[in-house]
């Protein structure tokens, strides 16, 4: 691959949006650093722009299986106590979380 190319960093706006989507709280330095590093990487990745891809089918998986199905029979699950013991906070056999702002999609 070619030497690193001077690249445009991603905008602070885009970094903020992406960080929010990914639920990552970034420090100002981190946001700055990622903006530059991601910008640098994306300019390297521009090499694929040279390829003609119009008639190429996307490939999501290497091996084309189909109809992998399972019978509708109950299997013993996990032990509730073992699972709840590993949880950060529980109450009443449920997982406890701080107040939820916003609604489920």
């Amino acid at each position: 691959m070619s030497e690193p190319v001077a690249a445009d960093p991603l905008s602070a706006d885009v970094i903020a949006k992406v960080a929010k989507l990914a639920r990552l709280e970034l420090t100002a330095q981190e946001a700055d650093r990622f903006a530059r590093q991601l910008g640098d990487m994306l300019s390297h990745f521009a090499d694929i722009d040279a390829l003609v891809l119009d008639d190429v089918r996307p490939m999501s998986q290497p091996y084309a299986l189909r109809n992998v199905l399972r019978d509708d029979t109950v299997d013993p699950g996990l032990d509730r106590d073992e699972v709840l013991a590993a949880a950060p906070a529980t109450e009443d056999h449920r997982f406890r979380v701080p107040p939820i702002r916003g609604v489920a999609p």
């Binding site: 989507l21 299997d75 509730r80 699972v83 997982f95 701080p98 609604v103 489920a104 999609p105």
Partner: protein, 476 residues
């Protein structure tokens, strides 16, 4: 509600919990009401390293729904819908996106109007949150929340209609009809109050001929009645806004059953970017033709078909209240059975509608007993009032011989001689009314009939008495 000059455009999205033994992608029980977090496994909890495996029976039920809604069944794929929420254990929902299982179907309302079905696809349900603190368990203002993952991973089919509905009444009918179909194919118990059937409404308004208006999605509709009320409220709200020159904002709104209003839940700007991509942990679902053909041949009679059969046998219209209500209850085959047992199906239909509301699809009164009752009525052996009384006994005691019951109650059909004798007495004792009647005042017959009923302690058939009185007058 006045919607004069306005057209409502309504589409309904219905989520249905499938009646499988296990979850969509794992073998934990699919059961309502168990102790919290007892139906869990690595997939349900989104543990590191867990992988989904698709439930064959869920696919079968989803296909039955598709066939019953006249859809094409296509090879389909699964996608990840990525968003964060505490009841979403993997922070993504496995659903179907641009290649759903069932497409391009329709559902007919009782009057025959076809409502297009865009798609009916498979997806997994989320866990359940309860909110603690704040007011009345509501999300807003709560102190913290508790999550139960029993419901996470339960199989859902999402049925999306085309925006072909035009009134709240049609929308109510759509939901009711869809529910009947789901019950008929055994896909779900479809109980709105329990959440195994959830309806969201997309509502917009426009002047006829105009392009589509901005639509709002309404959530939290927990009954058929709410569906109607919410649509009416929302349409009125939008019409008021547009008439005042305001713009309707595209958003999701919450229906408040208590005050009968909708309010903003989430605007379009707040909506997440779901970053859909093909689920790499699952493979293509392409049901074989043999499977589809077998399911098609096994489809039971659907409500529309059953209403048609009931209508034909009883002579009542397919969209008459009696036919609709009795079919909805699943008591249509019972009425047909009464006919086959030698009874009068038309009379049976009315009795079933009026007296059998508490029964399920297998009424406790044997068909032949009700058949015998209707035969007595047809022969004139019982007045309608008497028949109702006999029926009440039969309902209370899960059947019985109507002739014996009638005899026990002292219900004799009055023979012609007894009837004429009765009328003679009535005329003699009510000379004034009789003379008024003979003079041409038809209304005076009421007092004479009343006297006859009183004298016979209700055993006389009002129609028969009327006939005799008229004949007497004409020959007087």
């Amino acid at each position: 509600m006045s919607t004069d000059g306005w057209e409502l455009v309504i589409g309904l999205e219905v989520h249905v919990e499938l009646d499988t033994r296990t979850k969509l992608f794992s073998a934990s029980p699919n059961r309502f009401g168990d102790e919290p977090n007892t139906n869990i496994d690595p997939v349900t909890l989104g543990l590191p390293g867990a992988l989904p495996v698709l439930n064959r029976h869920a696919v079968e039920l989803a296909m039955r729904i598709g066939l019953a809604l006249n859809c094409d069944i296509r090879p389909s794929s699964f996608h990840r819908k990525n968003y964060f929420y505490p009841d979403m254990p993997k922070a993504y929902q496995i659903s179907q996106y641009d290649e759903p299982l069932n497409v391009d179907g329709w559902l007919a309302l009782p009057d025959g109007t076809r409502i297009g079905i865009e798609r009916a696809h498979l997806e997994e349900d989320t866990g359940k949150s309860t909110h603690v603190g704040g007011s009345g368990g509501r999300l807003h203002g709560s102190d913290y929340s508790l999550i139960d993952f029993n419901r996470a991973g339960v199989p859902l089919v999402e049925i999306v209609s085309r925006p072909d509905l035009r009134t709240s009444e049609q929308s109510r009918q759509y939901v009711t009809e869809l529910r009947g179909i789901l019950l008929a194919v055994g896909a779900s118990d479809a109980k709105m109050e329990q959440g195994s059937m959830r309806v969201d409404a997309n509502v917009s308004v426009r002047r006829p001929g105009d392009p589509l208006g901005t639509r709002c999605e309404i959530k939290n509709l927990n009954s058929v009645r709410s569906v109607g009320r919410a649509i009416e409220y929302e349409a009125a709200r939008q019409i008021t806004m547009v008439e005042a020159g305001d713009t309707v904002r595209q958003e999701t709104r919450h229906w408040d059953e208590g005050d009968g209003t909708t309010h903003t839940l989430r605007t379009k700007e707040d909506a997440d970017d779901y970053r859909y991509f093909l689920e790499p942990d699952l493979v293509l679902l392409a049901p074989e033709d043999e499977w589809i053909d077998r399911l098609r041949s096994e489809l039971p009679a659907l409500p529309a078909e059953r209403r048609a059969a009931l209508s034909e046998v009883t002579g009542k219209a397919t969209d008459s209240e009696a036919v609709i209500v009795v079919t909805e209850r699943g008591q249509d085959s019972y009425v047909l059975a009464v006919g086959e047992a030698g009874g009068d199906p038309a009379r049976a239909l009315i009795h079933v509608k009026e007296a059998f509301a508490a029964f399920g699809d297998e009424p406790a009164v044997p068909a032949q007993d009700l058949a015998a009752l209707t035969r007595m009525e047809s022969a004139g052996a019982l007045t309608p009032t008497q028949a109702k009384a006999v029926l009440a006994e039969m309902v209370a005691h899960s059947g019985g011989d109507p002739e014996k019951i009638a005899a026990d109650k002292g219900f004799e059909a009055m023979d012609t001689l007894a009837l004429e004798t009765l009328v003679d007495h009535v005329i003699k004792d009510n000379q004034a009314s009789w003379e008024t009647y003979c003079a041409g005042q038809d209304k005076a017959i009421g007092a004479l009939i009343g006297a006859a009923m009183k004298a016979s302690r209700g055993q006389a058939d009002g129609k028969a008495v009327t006939a005799v009185l008229r004949t007497r007058r004409s020959t007087a």
